[in-house]
């Protein structure tokens, strides 16, 4: 029996582990890490 060729996009959609990795990486980088870096780099106030 010939094996049906699966479309590459379907292969991506079926790959729950890759989706888990991306689902972790994207928000952690874009929201969390970027945000923390900004909060750690606030200039000192010069209050006489």
């Amino acid at each position: 029996m010939e094996k049906e060729k699966i479309h590459p996009i379907q292969k991506f959609m079926d790959n729950i582990w890759l989706l888990l990795a991306l689902g972790l990486a994207i928000p952690i980088l874009s929201y969390t890490m970027w945000g923390i870096i900004e909060l750690m780099n606030i200039p000192q106030g010069t209050l006489p």
Binding site: H7, Q10, I42, P43, Q44, G45, L47
Partner: protein, 176 residues
Amino acid sequence: MSIFHPKGNWYRPPTGTERLWVGLALAWCLVMSITMPWWHFQGKQNAPQTTYEVDPSAFIQRVNQFVETNRVGEMNNVPIVEPEPGGDAYLLGQMWQWYPVLKLKKDQTYRIHVSSADLQHGLSILPINMNIHVLPGYDYVMEITPTTAGEFSLICNEFCGIGHHRMTGKIIVEET
């Protein structure tokens, strides 16, 4: 079926009305994506963009200095303070009042530094309903131009203990 497992190659790009709707929805999303940056450059109301790191006790000192130099009166024992148009003003959130009362001139721009002496607070200017978040250790600078005159109330809208619902203040805006 949503509860059964599709077999083989089920990939199929959207067609017909589905495709039309995805296109329409995407177009609306792109319109919305443009409005925020557009308003950032063209609009006159934007979230304040300047922040400094401060020690709360240093900020309190600066507020007191500001009150001493620019005091013009008082309201129910709270000092009324008039900053220079175009200059810096200071507003302190503390358990449980906004201190001091500010007296501003309509259509003049001020850099109002807001911070907290203790817990987190929410600065809310009424009845125009403008709101920003206030943190201890952070000097958040509002570059603000009152465009209407009158007496405006300040309340706190971030829970800050049992006196939270008694935490008020005032901003007076004079006609020029």
